[in-house]
C-alpha cells in the first residue's frame, strides 16, 4: 500500500510526511521540539494538555499538533512569543490544579512538568491555587499513586489498555473532581486486573505514579524504548 507524501513547512522549514501522520510526528522526525505532556510516542494521542498547540496559516484556531494530521502545503508555526505565552499559561494552570511541591517530590529533577516550567522560564504563578485535598493510594505492594502530583495526562490509562492490555486504569468523576482510578475505584492493591507490570509508573511524566521505597529525587524513569516498538508489533499483528 502506498501513502501520499505531503510537503509542508514548520517554522519556515520545508519538511515532508505521509498521509495520516500528525504535525507532532513530522516535527519529531525532523528534530523540531514541540512540548507536550500527554503525548508519548507508542501510545495513541488525545490532545489533552494543550501544550503542543501550533498556529496553522489560514486557520483562526490553534491546533494541537499531536492530534492534527498534516496536509499538502500546510504552513505551521510551532514557536512564537504568543504560543510560548499560551504554553506558559497552560503550564501554570496544570501546576495550580493540584499540589505540586517539587522540592519534596519523588520525581524532583526527573519531572517533565518541572522541566517544562524551566524551559518556558515560568518562575512564579499569578493565578490563585486550588489546593484540593486529595489522596495517596499506597495499597499496591510495589507502587503508589499520589493524586497531588497527577496532571491527568492519562498516559497510564492508555499504556495499561493499549500496551499491557489490562485496562486496570480508567477515569472517574468530572471537572476538578476528575481522578484516575484502578478497577472502578477499588484500592490499587486489591485490583484483580493489575499485572504489576509497572508500565504506568514508567510513563508517568510527574511524581504521581512511583515505585515504593524510593527517596525524594531518586531517579529517572524516562527510559522507555519498548513503547513504540510494542505499538508497531501490535499493528503488524492487526491488534
Amino acid at each position: 500500500m502506498t501513502k501520499t507524501v505531503y510537503t509542508l513547512t514548520i517554522d519556515g522549514r520545508d519538511v515532508a510526511g505521509t498521509q495520516g501522520q500528525t504535525i507532532m510526528d513530522v516535527a519529531e522526525e525532523n528534530g523540531i521540539d514541540i512540548p507536550g505532556l500527554c503525548h508519548l510516542p507508542g501510545i495513541h494521542d488525545r490532545g489533552a494538555c494543550r501544550l503542543c498547540v501550533v498556529e496553522i496559516a489560514g486557520s483562526p484556531k490553534l491546533a494541537a499538533a499531536c492530534v492534527t494530521q498534516i496536509a499538502e502545503g500546510m504552513a505551521v508555526t510551532a514557536h512564537s512569543e504568543t504560543l510560548q505565552e499560551y504554553r506558559r499559561a497552560a503550564t501554570e494552570m496544570i501546576f495550580l490544579e493540584r499540589n505540586h511541591v517539587c522540592s519534596v517530590c519523588v520525581a524532583n529533577n526527573h519531572c517533565e512538568l518541572q522541566g517544562l516550567a524551566d524551559d518556558l522560564q515560568l518562575t512564579h504563578f499569578e493565578l490563585p491555587r486550588i489546593m484540593p485535598k486529595v489522596d495517596i493510594d499506597a495499597s499496591h505492594k510495589l507502587f503508589a499513586i499520589d493524586h497531588n502530583r497527577c496532571i491527568l495526562c492519562l498516559r497510564c490509562v492508555r499504556v495499561c489498555d493499549e500496551i499491557e492490555g489490562a485496562h486496570t486504569w480508567d477515569v472517574m468523576h468530572r471537572g476538578l473532581e476528575t481522578r484516575v482510578q484502578t478497577d472502578m475505584g477499588i484500592p490499587w492493591g486489591e485490583s484483580p486486573t493489575c499485572t504489576s507490570c509497572g508500565k504506568c509508573v514508567q510513563v508517568c511524566p510527574t511524581g504521581a505514579l512511583f515505585e515504593k521505597g524510593r527517596p525524594v529525587a531518586s531517579g529517572s524513569k524516562t527510559r522507555r524504548p519498548f513503547l513504540p516498538w510494542l505499538r508497531v508489533r501490535q499493528e503488524e499483528r492487526g491488534l
Binding site: N99, H100, V101, C102, S103, V104, C105, N108, N109, C111, Q114, A117, D118, Q121, T123, H124, F125, E126, P128, R129, M131, P132, K133, V134, A217
Partner: protein, 176 residues
C-alpha cells in the same frame, strides 16, 4: 555617594536559602564591598529599616507576624525579591493548606501529646488560614525560585542589581 542598602528577611522557611546565600563564599566579600547589609538574620538589628534598596525575602507568609513583616518590608523596599520556592510558591509550608489550621494544631499539639496537651496561644503568632506565596500578599519585583536557589544564581542576581543591570534569572527553577 552611600552604598546601596541590602536586607534579607526570613519568614516561614527552613533558612536553607540563607545557607545558600552564605554559600557564595568569598563572593560575599565582593557583594558587601559594594553594598551595606542593613538587616537580616545575620545582622543584629531588631527593626526593619527605612530606605532599603534590595531585600531578599525567604519563606512563605504563614502567620500574622509574617503578614505584618512582609507589608512593612514592601513599604520600605525598592526591589523586593521572592527568594526561593517558599517565597515563590509557599512550597513545603503550603503543604498544610488543604488540611486547615484547626486539624493541623490538633495533630501537632493534642493527638500526639500525652502530658497536658494544649495549643499554644501566647508568645507565638497565630497562623493564617493558609500559607501564601509572597506575591499573593504584596507585589514582588523579582522571583528567584529554587529549593534553595544555587549560590551562583544569588550572586548573579545581586551582581546584576548592584551593577544597575536588569537581572536575568536564567537557570532558576522549582525544586532542585
Amino acid at each position: 555617594m552611600s552604598k546601596p542598602r541590602v536586607a534579607t528577611v526570613w519568614l516561614d522557611g527552613c533558612s536553607g536559602c540563607h545557607m545558600s546565600l552564605i554559600d557564595m563564599d568569598e563572593r560575599l566579600l565582593d557583594i558587601f564591598e559594594r553594598a551595606d547589609l542593613v538587616y537580616g538574620p545575620l545582622v543584629d538589628i531588631k527593626e526593619f529599616p527605612e530606605d532599603v534598596d534590595v531585600c531578599l525575602v525567604e519563606g512563605a507568609v504563614s502567620s500574622e507576624e509574617d503578614l505584618h513583616r512582609i507589608r512593612q518590608v514592601r513599604e520600605r523596599t525598592k526591589v523586593l525579591v521572592a527568594f526561593g520556592d517558599c517565597a515563590v510558591t509557599s512550597n513545603v509550608p503550603g503543604m498544610r493548606n488543604p488540611i486547615g489550621v484547626a486539624p493541623l494544631m490538633d495533630r501537632a499539639y493534642r493527638e500526639n501529646v500525652t502530658l497536658n496537651p494544649q495549643v499554644p496561644t501566647q508568645w507565638v503568632p497565630a497562623l493564617l488560614p493558609t500559607s501564601e506565596p509572597i506575591n499573593r500578599v504584596v507585589p514582588v519585583d523579582i522571583f528567584l525560585p529554587g529549593c534553595p536557589p544555587h549560590a551562583d544564581l544569588i550572586y548573579t542576581l545581586l551582581d546584576d542589581l548592584l551593577s544597575g543591570r536588569t537581572p536575568a534569572v536564567a537557570g532558576a527553577r522549582f525544586g532542585r
